[in-house]
Amino acid sequence: MTPMTRDRRARGHWRRQLGILALLVVLVAVPWVITDPYKISICTMILINVILACTLFPLLHAGMFTIAHAAFMAIGAYSSALLTLKAGLSFWLAFPIAGMVTAVVAALIGIPTLRTKGVFFLLITFGLNEVGRLVISSLNITGGAEGLGGIRRIDAIPVPGIGVIEFTSRAANYYFVLALAVLTIVVLVRLWRTAFGRAWQAIGQSEELAVSLGIPLARYKLSLFCLSCFFAGLTGSFFAHYYRFLSPADFTVWNSIYPLVYLQVGGLGSMLGPILGATILTGALEIFRAIEEYKPMTFGVLLVVVMLLAPDGLIGFPSRARVLWKGRRGMR
């Protein structure tokens, strides 16, 4: 803690630490409390969406509004699936390799595309996602439009002192993705609070000013892009071995757009936004199964309402409500 930041953070600091600890305890306890495997699988899905939305958080703040995230998840998913299916690798090897492959592809794609701005970057990433989907559905090796099936579960792994952990249960897979989520969020939040996070924010707010202060634009944008896609790739790998079936329909532009919606609705103010947004939009709407057919419309309405009336999202709501309340009571 440094003098400049101490004043603002000291107040909420211990409260926040406690909150995070409580949340972790709750999350770890989920499979003990909720025994219905279906509900556990919903929690797993929530966590997948949380990771995706969180990896988009720094990208958006750095000015990279990408609609290609599902494509990078696909790269991780298919790499991992094929490495275990065709090359016979263990999941525990395929998993990190899939992440690295995704990062490398992200670098190759990022070098020419990150130079573009505004509507063009949006359109290019959109197009890339489409191309990716079309390529997946055309190649035989990826199973074409029918999809790729028969993917193994996560391989059992011997852990010294505990024994062999099997991943045949939903609970075990839930813990895996929980660990992945915690790792991703911790890394991203930590980096965001460093000088690099400041540089990324600076890039997002004014590239001109940032370079005039010596911030290397291309290198920093590329490295953030690769980092974010790395985690998307890891998530894809888990996705492949959890659902054990991949199809191009899992990686359309809508799969890239939904995490953006979670992030926007949750709020861009802090990493809590995407966590909240993904949890509520995935979980709560899943619970209210009765309105299943109205789900996309509810999404749409929520998104439009947030964009127009509450651009700070859900996490911005308390301060916005406070401002509105004060205004009504005539306080300055």
Binding site: T2, R8, L191, T194, R198, Q201, S212
Partner: protein, 265 residues
């Protein structure tokens, strides 16, 4: 002694528009050089060429003897030549304090790993950046606005912050593009004095584009005058003030000059 900055025949054409024509300029360590000229003379374009925002059509820029023509702005900044902007370009979602910390990026970030794991080396660097930021903010009389959002600052204070942020990079050469535009007379005097102090107290070399003639005359060591992209005069304030070409450039016609009749832009 090698000049800190040497520009050789800098020329810039935008299509058919000749914005800069064969400009030669030397800047010596420790001096304040003012770059003046009527609007449209090409002064900001010149800064853009120097700092890599725009590639010159021909000509060379030599910084400390090293050819940096066409290098990208972040590289040039890391070599020690930093500019401010004519428009109030800010990090509008940051506070004053956060902006200052960001401006110290060149000074220290270390490796990603040391940052990620919050190693002592990283923490030391951050603490040093904190101290330097507070010191600079106080120097520019912005200390008490540390937690204020940049967007809420009055225009004059934003310009001062811009100068402070450029200073944070510890530049060998500071290029100020119309730093006092839009300031009220008190702020103007304060900023000009601060710029002068930078030269005197911190041995900062400064090139300043400015229209405010009184300030230019009082604070610069040398003045270079541009008109229509060409250098039309160079010398100390007294020489420039009485130079008939300069007066004509500003007023559009030759004038029988009195030595103390300072032209206004």
């Amino acid at each position: 002694m090698t000049p800190i900055l040497r520009c050789e025949q800098i020329t810039k054409h935008f299509g058919g528009l000749k914005v800069l024509e064969h400009i030669d300029l030397d800047v010596h360590a420790g001096e304040i050089l003012a770059l003046i000229g009527p609007n449209g003379a090409g002064k900001t374009t010149f800064f853009n060429v120097l700092t890599g925002y725009v590639r010159p059509t021909s000509g060379r820029v030599l910084f400390d003897g090293q050819d940096i023509t066409g290098a990208p702005p972040d590289v040039i900044a890391s070599l020690g030549m930093v500019r401010t902007f004519q428009a109030a370009i800010m990090f509008d979602k940051m506070t004053v304090g956060q902006s200052m910390l960001t401006a110290h990026h060149l000074g220290g970030r270390g490796s990603v790993w040391s940052a990620l794991f919050n190693r002592p080396s990283y923490r030391q660097r951050e603490a040093a950046i904190e101290r330097a930021s507070i010191e600079l903010l106080e120097f520019m009389e912005l200390g008490d606005m540390k937690d204020e959002l940049v967007a809420n600052l009055p225009h004059g204070r934003q310009r001062a912050l811009g100068v402070a942020m450029a200073m944070a990079t510890r530049p060998r050469l500071l290029l100020l593009d119309e730093p006092v535009t839009g300031m009220n007379p008190e702020e103007l005097v304060v900023l000009m004095r601060q710029i002068h102090d930078l030269r005197d107290l911190k041995q900062q070399t400064i090139v300043i584009i400015e229209h405010h003639m009184a300030a230019v005359m009082e604070f610069s060591d040398r003045i270079t005058v541009l008109n229509f992209g060409r250098k039309i005069a160079e010398g100390n304030p007294a020489e420039i003030g009485t130079n008939p070409d300069v007066i004509e450039a500003y007023l559009g016609a030759p004038v029988a000059s009195a030595a103390d009749d300072v032209p206004h832009a």
